[in-house]
């Protein structure tokens, strides 16, 4: 099982590097406070509009921020890979028998793992700010599953793009171009019932929306089928993007 061993060893490398960045840890702790605090205050009154399913906006917003954090955290995952490409780390590893898929899997695992930790912080903060999760602690913890799946999918996608473009500028442009539209074409900040029809139509094929829908259903606790169907969809996306990223290694080998 060299694939599992390789992935685990490489995952440890990524984790150690992250733990050695105090600024990363500080931002991880502060960012949810800004998102939940700022957005929560700014949009506080929108729950007064008929059609919102929760009584406070913070309760509505918390699963949305969990998902948005997962999206952006993972989308930048390819930056580390580009750095490794430029410093020759990837070539050094490709000249060993390491399983190619493990190079991607380790990054995906690392993105998912850090997203899991960040999501816990966001949930705790949501609770502190007065969110009430109908399905209790277990339901709230279930939101980690769609968040981590979405993170895995976008980490793999980001890694694949990194291997194909090999330039930070390109990846930055792509993430900036797609990041916010994907967030706003979902129910992260606005109830699906209140979306314009065309936005709702697009959101049904938007993986970010699948994750938000699953997360929100998990904290509501009254429709577990919705939770698992959306998680299954996300798992399919993880497999597809993981395959794409592994194929990108072949393209890299042909062209480099």
């Amino acid at each position: 099982m060299s694939f599992v061993a390789d992935s685990w060893h490489l995952f440890q490398r990524h984790l150690l590097a992250t733990l050695r960045l105090p600024i990363w840890i500080a931002i991880t702790l502060v960012q949810p406070i800004i998102w939940l605090g700022l957005f929560g205050q700014l949009f506080r009154r929108v729950v007064d509009i008929p059609g919102f399913e929760t009584t406070t906006y913070i309760e509505f917003l918390t699963p949305g921020v969990v998902v948005m954090n997962a999206l952006f955290g993972a989308a930048w995952s390819g930056m580390g890979l580009i750095n490794d490409l430029q410093e020759g780390v990837v070539d050094r590893m490709l000249a060993t028998p390491v399983r190619r898929g493990a190079l991607i899997a380790a990054r995906v695992l690392h993105a998912s793992f850090t997203i899991g930790i960040q999501s816990l912080i966001i949930l705790a903060l949501g609770l502190a700010l007065g969110a009430h999760f109908a399905s209790g602690i277990l339901g709230a913890l279930t939101t980690l599953i769609p968040a981590m799946l979405l993170g895995a999918a976008f980490a793999a996608l980001s890694s694949g793009i990194a291997l194909m473009t090999r330039r930070e500028e390109t990846l930055i442009a792509i993430v900036n171009f797609f990041g916010l539209p994907l967030s706003f074409l979902s129910a992260s900040f606005m109830s699906a019932a209140l979306m314009p029809d065309w936005v709702r139509a697009i959101s049904t094929v938007n993986p970010v929306n699948w994750a938000v829908t699953a997360a929100r259903a998990a904290v509501a606790g009254n429709d577990w089928t919705t939770v698992w169907v959306n998680c299954a969809l996300l798992a399919a996306v993880v497999i597809a993007t993981g395959f794409f990223a592994t194929q990108a290694f072949r393209a890299y080998r042909r062209s480099a």
Partner: protein, 330 residues
């Protein structure tokens, strides 16, 4: 070549060709062999195709044509076996700057399938061998250039490969560190008996370090052999004469036994001789007998630069890129 049961070459490259997508032809048919236990050099200016050759041999790039075998394993059809056999130390070092020296080595050992119970001892031994034991638990980002290079080499050796690739190992190092590295490489061969393929654009490095070498120019091997043999085959030494009458001196010089060539160069004459110490007096005497005065005489032993000039028709210029900067790498 057809001796009974010859030892298997450490490496055979046969007619490797590669053209990058942007149209730059990096290799136009590169062939050479590395014997077990020898330090073999690929010498050529930047852009000659050295790095591309090594990347193909290290299974990182696929050639368009030709084949290569390392310890009997085909680079194209059995890359996993090749990867277990080789150590690869690239020009861009490839160490993780934000990890400690020891962590880099442990991960490399894991990826190279060193049995888990042997990793600690192996890493300790290598750290001591490259004199990094005290710096082992510092982030590599704090290392000097020489320390980083020594770690690079230790990384390439962690699984006891039988063939080590060193791509431009001394580029960017100060002279002192470079000399230390040369010492380390000789020690490597003596103590570990492995084969080394190194690329360099330093003539003196190739001369000092390599048992045998191939001169690469425009994606082709133009000469291969031991440095001494390469120098001998192009006709021994070089004598530069300044005379009162170049026109008369040239045919006289060419008629002397032991002279292989005589060409005017500015106002002087460059004479190729088999052995300068024994022929030089004859040169002067012959010219004097015919009324041509010699105003100066300089003897220069043949260098690889002369070999290079002889085979390529131009002087070696490490920075003169032949055929564009290595295309397609980024």
């Amino acid at each position: 070549m057809s001796t009974p049961t010859p030892p298997m070459p450490a490496l055979i490259a046969d007619q490797l060709t590669k053209t990058y997508r942007n149209g730059v032809q990096a290799l136009a048919g590169v062939s050479f062999q590395v014997a077990p236990g020898e330090i073999f050099g690929l010498l050529g200016p930047n852009g000659a195709g050295k790095s591309t050759t090594v990347r193909i041999l290290a299974t990182l790039t696929q050639p368009d044509g030709g084949s290569a075998r390392i310890a009997g394993h085909d680079v194209m059809t059995d890359p996993q076996a090749v990867r277990r056999t080789i150590g690869y130390v690239a020009q861009a070092s490839g160490v993780d700057r934000w990890a400690k020296g020891r962590e880099n080595l442990v991960l490399q050992a894991q990826l190279q399938r060193v049995p888990a119970e042997k990793i600690d001892a192996r890493v300790d031994e290598l750290l001591a061998w490259v004199n990094l034991t005290e710096a082992a638990n510092r982030l590599v980002n704090t290392y000097s250039g020489g320390m980083k290079r020594r770690l690079d080499i230790a990384m390439g050796l962690v699984h006891s490969p039988s063939l080590l690739f060193l791509d431009e190992p001394t580029t960017g190092l100060d002279p002192e560190t470079r000399a230390a590295l040369w010492r380390d490489l000789r020690r490597l061969r003596e103590e570990r008996g492995l084969s080394v393929l190194l690329t360099t654009h330093y003539l003196e490095e190739a001369d000092a370090m390599c048992d045998r070498l191939a001169i690469v120019d425009h994606g082709r091997v133009v000469a291969e052999g031991r440095p001494e043999d390469l120098k001998r085959t192009i006709g021994g030494d070089r004598v530069v004469l300044e005379t009162s009458d170049v026109e008369r001196a040239l045919p006289l010089l060419r008629g002397i036994p032991g002279v292989t060539a005589a060409e005017p160069e500015d106002r002087a004459i460059t004479v190729r001789v088999e052995h300068a110490p024994s022929v030089s007096p004859t040169l002067v005497a012959t010219l004097a007998q015919n009324g041509v005065a010699v105003t100066s005489l300089t003897v220069a032993r043949t260098t690889l630069d002369d070999v290079y000039l002889h085979h390529t028709g131009h002087r070696f210029d490490a920075e003169a890129v032949s055929g564009g900067k290595r295309g397609g790498r980024r």
